[in-house]
Symmetry: C2
Subunit: 141 residues, 2 copies
DNA sequence: TATTGTTATACTCTATAACTATA
DNA sequence: TATAGTTATAGAGTATAACAATA
């Protein structure tokens, strides 16, 4: 009942991501937030110049899929939209949104610490640079 | 338009997995297979003793979610089910299923090579052991 | 013309609850 | 009682196509 696919880095990447994101989702559920929602709050932060389309490019989420994601956050009263011009609006955090962001930052820093603690010393420093070679320019293409 | 979240290993893990799985999905689409479907074919391989519930445990897929997944493979004529007892059936590859598996193995080995090639020499050997610390026992919990 | 934002739609993956039948 | 398999259902995430309005 073992798993021979564990020798494949791509398979291990998928399993590791699924397992850790499951844990993160559980941790964020106490704030009634999904992972994508929390990521949006963290990306907006103190900024007051971020458009939906900008954020989609940063997070690699398509325009059409930003709509229900931002709508959920707006319905919860966590974000607001400030007109920039007739076509675009800047995403900003509301006061409740900033309070929730502080909780999100607390949860995620705990989560990141737990993640790193699972990795033996000799491998730990290599993980982030290795992972960051797998996305960025040209990987989505 | 940069992404400060890239300093978080958890975020990088999710982005790396999404990016690479997007590439793998695209590569597998020429065989008209999803990633989960391909993983099932690879897991069955030459075995003739694997039950749906066993496979679900290995791949961390719930019983209920195995049903449509296996049904798609069965509808495509790639897997068959051999009664073990009145309650269980063994999953086996059909001859067409074995042919598709060979194509899957070709695609995935190319994919794994591409993945590793993206990582600088000094980090490469650390990736698999680090990732394998993040799933296994207790991570799903 | 290109970009922004939106609607509609569909597929995959995931999760839970409840049911049947067999070990 | 526990396990195997199924059905139904719901929520996310992701993908495409098409449209209106603005830069």
């Amino acid at each position: 009942m073992s798993d021979p696919l564990a020798l494949l880095p791509g398979y291990a990447l998928r399993r590791a991501s699924n397992a850790m994101m499951g844990r993160l989702a559980k941790a964020l559920s106490v704030a009634d937030l999904g992972i994508a929602e929390a990521t949006v709050l963290m990306s907006i932060g103190e900024r007051r110049d971020l458009k939906s389309s900008d954020l989609g490019r940063i997070l690699d989420i398509r325009r059409a899929n930003m709509v229900p994601l931002l709508k959920r956050l707006e319905d919860k009263g966590l974000i607001d939209r400030i007109p920039i011009d007739g076509k675009s609006r800047a995403l900003v955090l509301t006061p409740p949104g900033k309070a929730v962001l502080r909780e999100v930052l607390r949860i995620t820093s705990q989560f990141e610490a737990d993640l790193l603690a699972r990795i033996p010393d000799e491998h730990r420093a290599h993980l982030l640079p290795a992972l960051n070679c797998l996305w960025g320019e040209g990987t989505t293409e």
